[in-house]
């Protein structure tokens, strides 16, 4: 058991270090694969440059005005800002990220986008979400769940903070079959 926990801590540390060590996101090229021109026009260029997701969870979330949204692993804030546009000031968006510097980027981009009045960014871990039970209507995430060494725990936390009838829309990468161990065990591959 202790060894497993150490392994989990090592993974968490490796992921945190990897994200703390980058100076930009995947950039506009990747963002254009994932988001429409109209969607990209809704967010500041800085948030587009910091896009690190693998899909478009907001498009599938069917957000309604007035809903309260949690963006798990909010990064530079692109999905939080898109969500904030859809729920409007009657709703709210909380971006949660393990890195304070990512939260700062999210705040800056949300301010540039003019949605900071109902969008906030908090430092925290998806396995221990700092929100009360039943306080959120929709949870979104983008390329984040695979980063957790305790995925069931993270999903249980998301379940806990959702209101009854609440929903999730999560973009992520799935892998069928085995990857060569040199890749599967590489810290960079895990973080990526």
């Amino acid at each position: 058991m202790a060894k497993d926990l150490m392994f989990q801590d090592e993974i968490k540390e490796a992921v945190r270090d990897a994200y703390a060590g980058i100076s930009t996101g995947a950039g506009e090229t990747v963002a254009r694969w994932l988001y429409s021109d109209e969607e990209l026009a809704e967010v500041p260029t800085g948030a587009v440059a910091w896009a690190l997701g693998v899909g478009n969870p907001v498009r599938y979330a069917l957000l309604q005005p007035g809903e309260d949204v949690l963006d798990v692993g909010s990064g530079g804030g692109i999905d939080s800002i898109l969500a904030a546009r859809r729920v409007g000031p009657q709703g709210s968006v909380i971006g949660l990220d393990i890195l304070e510097e990512m939260c700062e980027r999210g705040r800056r981009h949300a301010t540039e986008a003019g949605v900071n009045g109902w969008t906030q960014f908090r430092r925290g871990e998806m396995e221990d979400i700092p929100l009360p039970d039943g306080s959120i209507d929709v949870v979104i995430s983008n390329g984040v769940m695979n980063l957790s060494a305790r995925k069931s725990r993270a999903l249980a936390e998301i379940y806990r903070v959702l209101r009854p009838g609440g929903r999730v829309s999560m973009a992520d990468l799935t892998v069928e079959g085995e990857l060569p161990p040199e890749i599967a065990n590489d810290q960079s591959a895990w973080a990526g």
């Binding site: 693998v54 069931s152 999903l155 249980a156 799935t174 040199e182 591959a189």
Partner: protein
């Protein structure tokens, strides 16, 4: 994580109406745009994965699910 494992984990903590869609192949060239992948691991992928898999190493998906409206089971996991 495999798609069926992702769906099973959601159901395991109590979610219902699990839906998986938006499938999009993701290959090595795409991965190389992400700063999280080092040049070394990109090269490692090119060397160790069969060429037929270079354009489809993983699949991007969107997974949706709903918490039951009525009192559902909440399972704390460690």
């Amino acid at each position: 994580m495999a798609e069926r494992v992702f769906a099973a984990k959601l159901q395991g903590v109590g979610f219902e109406d699990v839906w998986v869609g938006g499938h999009r192949p993701s290959g090595i060239d795409e991965a190389s745009h992400y700063p999280l992948f080092t040049e070394e691991v990109i090269e490692l992928m090119r060397k160790t994965l069969p060429p037929g898999r270079h354009d489809h190493v993983a699949t991007g998906v969107v997974v949706k699910a709903r918490k039951p409206r009525t009192h559902g089971r909440t399972k704390r996991t460690t």
